[in-house]
């Protein structure tokens, strides 16, 4: 299947996940759906990159997970942002904005 996330800059998926989780704890599919919706379909996240990213973030202590019931009465693994993750998100966002501003300036110059 065509990989639309190939357009994602390396490392941005992690940031998008963190941002999505900043609102509320979510399970895997919820996160994928949310990223797709908010980006209005520009980013389609597939499971092959999403789950390794979860494992990475969890190992780094940026997110934590627990199993709890979903609204459809099933058990799902919910991810939530840790304090470390919040800090990381803030730093990443700032860094990202600086870079975008710089790139924009260059492109418009």
């Amino acid at each position: 299947m065509p990989e639309k996330t190939a357009g994602l800059v390396q490392g941005t998926l992690d940031m998008l996940i963190l941002k999505t989780l900043a609102l509320e704890p979510m399970h895997g599919y919820g996160i994928a759906l949310r990223i797709e919706q908010i980006s209005r379909g520009v980013f389609q996240v597939n499971a092959g990159s999403l789950f390794p990213a979860f494992r990475r973030l969890e190992r780094d202590g940026l997110v934590a997970s627990e199993w709890r019931p979903t609204e459809n009465n099933r058990h799902a693994k919910y991810y939530r942002l840790t304090e470390l993750g919040k800090k990381k998100l803030k730093a990443e966002t700032r860094e990202w904005q600086t870079q975008i501003a710089a790139i924009t300036r260059i492109l418009e110059a």
């Binding site: 599919y29 499971a47 092959g48 789950f51 494992r55 190992r59 780094d60 799902a76 693994k77």
Partner: protein, 885 residues
């Protein structure tokens, strides 16, 4: 903290894989169900939704694989699996595995042993605190270099005035010994005299008692000594009250103030028994220069500063003794000075042995390459099933590193053994042997070499095996000849193996030739049937008449012994036991004190010394018992050697001419030359001939120097058989006198070339090993290619080729490879053997004979190795060969 978390979660996966797998399955299933539910909500029918989601998510197993490979534990898992698989492959082909492991074990073992020598002697810091600040210090004339000895005046001036060092110290140069009496049979023990700060400069402390105190080396201080732990045990029964006990050294009682630990050996390479204090009375002149100096620099002080300071103090001493030459200083790190004689040889040995390892590595690469083509079908299958090429290469490399590690472990055992043998039987006169061992640094080296060689010999085969299309090898796995690329790699490896082996063989050829020439050197006398020993008179022989009387009586008794044809005494004996050198001035030369000192080997001898050694008389006469030399008014006489006659008398007869000795000074007494004798080697068989001066031992001024003399006795009998007689004669004069260092002259000569012999043997051993490995390599590759070409050979024979044609073809292949290797080896040897130059005695580093002979041997052996496969090829039965599939 973060690392800990990663470690814990990784370990969980490693040890409870089923839990992690279950959780991952659950999560993915849940994801799937959620996605389907979402699609159903937006109107799709459930069947349709399931199919779409399955398509979107892709292969579940590959998703799981992605997740698994995100953690570090994945790497460990893969490695463990590869190691497990590698072990299985090794077990499955024991012949191949044991051959490669053996080759690697020998290579790594020898490398480890040599490296532990290099590390212990050259690389590891000296075992003293802050040893980087320790330096050796020497004074010499401008234009000379290296660490030279200095005299008492220079030491005292420097010690008083210097500000750059925390401590400075000196010790007596030369291989020191003391006559020990009063503890059972008198004997000679190894020991030196040192200044008071000797131990504090090094920063070492005794296991018992103390070192010397500042000022203990002043002229009137009582005599004190520090002994070794071994001497304490062997001679004093580890007496706990040993401190303040007195021992008699060279006839003077010394009070023991400390016991040094067994591993302390400075400055000698052999263990010393005693360090006695040396007292420094105000010097009458600048020479003799008999002290070796060292110091501990203050932190932050550079060698240049210290050197400038020493230069200044030497200049003041020159003013104090106006006839003495201007001296300048050299300072080098103490370690560098200690290992100066062995560092080149050790590094060359390390280079040679790494060539052997390289050949072993090439050999194993060849074996692996041959197997790689056998394993192509297995690997093709893996590639077809989706393994990446990198993954396959990794797995093959794991296998080869596994091989080299097993080889390394076996090699480590070999290294332990050979190092033990070396320390027991090798040349004991190598400095710092006590610091040699298999330690952490050596193990690290071995580990690095293991992994490195595993990767090196595994890389080419791994690349070769994983190369090419997936389809082709699966189809043509059986019966086909090796690919062109593989054959080319084989050939290149063999050529380099031959070249490397030739390089080593030429090196060893040069060393052997040099060693043979060294052994053939004319020492200037007849060394057979000569017994030598040392006799040291104690201080109780305090006056000149006493010393003269003793030698006269003793020599008369020895010469009257049955079986003794001549006996003499001398301060120095060949081939390398030179005690002193002395500057001299020939009459009419003038007294420019900045002229480079003309140094002569000078020694006091008895008249029969020349006859006993068999030194030929060239002109004039030898000394005689009737020469009147004992009084101050008597004219002084000397005998010189041919080199001095040639260099300083312009072809005139030197007999009757006069010289002065000591620093150039018009006031020095004149000495008349009465004879010229042949050159004798006193500074090693490989030393160029030097001017030599002989003076009568009983001459006025020389007798006090004659308290310690070598005895040389010529006998038509077996030399050792006269030793008991010598001891009896000695005891009949003084029962407290030891006859020490009893050795035949043949033994002295053997001992003088022990280092040369040792490294010649070692390098030749390496070269033999290299030859063996190269031959095995050639044999294996030629056999392998014959086996691969069986079908082709069968066709040739069927088409009318004779057995001769076929074996010619196979031999031709081997010959081409060997010749190419030899050509490359010869060219590189021309460049490389230059580094051997300092170790070669009258042998050019491009010695034609060594080059030609070794090449011929290598070529012959290589052809021999090809002969067996060639015979096998000639016997191929075309029918069997064509049915081979």
């Amino acid at each position: 903290m973060a690392i800990l978390r990663k470690l814990v979660s990784g370990l969980k996966v490693l040890f409870r894989p089923e839990v992690a797998e279950k959780e991952m399955d659950d999560e993915l299933t849940d994801y799937f169900e959620e996605a389907v539910a979402a699609k159903v909500r937006s109107g799709a029918n459930p069947e349709q939704a399931r199919r779409e989601v399955r398509l979107e998510m892709g292969n579940m197993d590959s998703v799981k694989h992605e997740v698994r490979s995100a953690g570090w534990e994945f790497f460990v898992e893969t490695l463990l699996r590869d190691v497990h698989y590698g072990l299985r492959m090794i077990r499955r082909s024991p012949a191949f595995a044991s051959l490669s492991i053996l080759a690697i074990a020998v290579g790594i073992g020898a490398n480890t042993a040599i490296f532990s020598l290099v590390y212990g002697v050259l690389l590891s810091p000296l075992p003293y605190p802050d040893s980087k600040r320790l330096v050796a210090v020497g004074l010499h004339q401008r234009g000379e270099s290296g660490i030279h000895t200095l005299g008492v005046a220079d030491f005292l001036a420097w010690g008083d005035q210097q500000r750059s060092f925390e401590h400075v110290a000196v010790f007596s140069a030369g291989s020191g010994s003391f006559a020990l009496s009063g503890l059972g049979t008198p004997e000679t023990i190894p020991g030196i005299t040192v200044s008071a700060d000797f131990f504090s400069t090094l920063g070492v402390s005794p296991v018992l008692g103390r070192g010397f105190l500042p000022g203990e080396d002043r002229p009137q201080s009582p005599l004190v000594a520090v002994i070794s732990e071994q001497f304490w045990r062997d001679h004093l029964g580890s007496d706990p009250n040993v401190l303040n006990r007195s021992i008699t050294l060279d006839g003077s009682p010394h009070t023991i103030v400390g016991v040094m630990p067994a591993q302390f050996r400075f400055p000698a390479s052999k263990p010393l028994d005693v360090w006695a204090i040396r007292r420094f009375p105000p010097p009458q002149g600048r020479p003799p220069y008999g002290l070796l100096a060292f110091g501990r620099l203050k932190p932050g002080v550079t060698q240049q500063t210290a050197q400038a300071e020493l230069d200044a103090s030497a200049a003041r001493v020159t003013q104090q003794f106006p006839t003495s030459p201007e001296l300048v200083s050299t300072i080098v790190p103490l370690k560098q000075w200690m290992v100066r004689r062995v560092s080149t040889a050790l590094l060359i040995l390390l280079g040679a042995i790494s060539l052997v390892l390289l050949i072993a590595v090439v050999n194993v690469a060849n074996l692996l390459l041959a197997r790689a083509s056998v394993r192509r079908s297995e690997i093709a299958l893996r590639l077809a099933l989706g393994a990446s090429r990198a993954r396959v290469i990794c797995q093959l490399l794991t296998e080869s590193v596994l091989l080299s590690s097993i080889g390394g472990i076996v090699g480590l055992l070999l290294a332990f053994g050979s190092l033990k043998a070396f320390l027991a039987f090798g040349p004991g006169n190598m400095p710092r042997l006590e610091d040699v061992g298999i330690n952490g640094a050596v193990l690290l080296f071995t580990f690095a070499v293991c992994v490195g060689s595993g990767i090196v010999f595994g890389l080419a085969p791994a690349l070769e095996a994983s190369r090419g299309s997936v389809n082709h090898p699966l189809r043509a796995a059986k019966g086909s000849s090796a690919s062109y690329g593989a054959r080319r790699t084989h050939n290149a490896l063999i050529v380099s193996e031959v070249a490397l082996a030739l390089l080593l063989m030429i090196g060893s050829g040069l060393l052997i030739r040099s060693f043979l020439r060294l052994r053939d050197v004319d020492p200037g006398f007849r060394p057979d049937h000569l017994m030598t020993a040392v006799i040291s008179l104690p201080r109780s022989y305090s006056t000149e008449p006493q010393i003269r009387a003793f030698w006269k009586e003793f020599l008369a008794k020895v010469e009257s012994m049955p079986g003794v044809s001549a006996a003499g005494i001398s301060m120095s004996v060949p081939p390398n036991q030179l005690a002193i050198t002395n500057p001299f001035t020939v009459e009419g030369q003038g007294y420019d004190r900045n002229r480079k000192l003309q140094l002569a080997e000078e020694m006091a001898v008895s008249p029969d010394y020349f006859r006993a050694l068999g030194i030929p008389l060239v002109r004039g006469r030898w000394f005689s018992e009737s020469d009147k030399v004992e009084e101050e008014k008597d004219p002084m006489i000397v005998v010189i050697n041919e080199t001095m006659a040639k260099q300083y008398f312009n072809g005139q007869d030197p007999v009757g001419k006069r010289i002065q000795t000591g620093d150039p000074n018009p006031q020095s007494p004149w000495e008349t030359i009465i004879g010229v004798v042949g050159d004798v080697k006193y500074q090693g068989l490989n030393a160029a001939p030097q001017p030599t001066l002989y003076v009568p031992y009983n001459e006025n001024g020389w007798t006090p120097w004659s308290w310690q003399m070598y005895l040389v006795v010529r006998t038509p009998l077996e030399p050792k058989s006269i030793v008991p007689g010598l001891r009896t004669q000695l005891a009949s004069i003084n029962k407290d006198l030891p006859l020490s260092q009893v050795q035949t002259m043949d033994q002295l000569i053997e001992d003088s070339v022990v280092q040369e012999r040792f490294r010649t043997w070692l390098v030749s051993g390496f070269a033999g090993l290299a030859l063996l490995l190269a031959v095995i390599g050639i044999y294996a590759v030629i056999s392998y290619s014959v086996a691969q070409q069986t079908r082709e050979i069968g066709v040739r024979i069927a088409l009318g080729a004779t057995a001769g044609d076929v074996s010619k073809m196979v031999l031709g292949h081997g010959l081409r490879l060997a010749t190419a290797g030899i050509a490359i080896g010869l060219i590189s040897a021309l460049g490389v053997t230059r580094i051997l130059r300092s170790m070669l005695y009258s042998t050019s580093s491009t010695d034609l004979l060594s080059f030609v002979l070794t090449s011929a041997v290598l070529l012959g052996v290589a052809l021999l190795a090809c002969y067996i496969p060639a015979l096998r090829a000639a016997r191929v039965d075309p029918i069997v060969a064509l049915r081979y599939e």
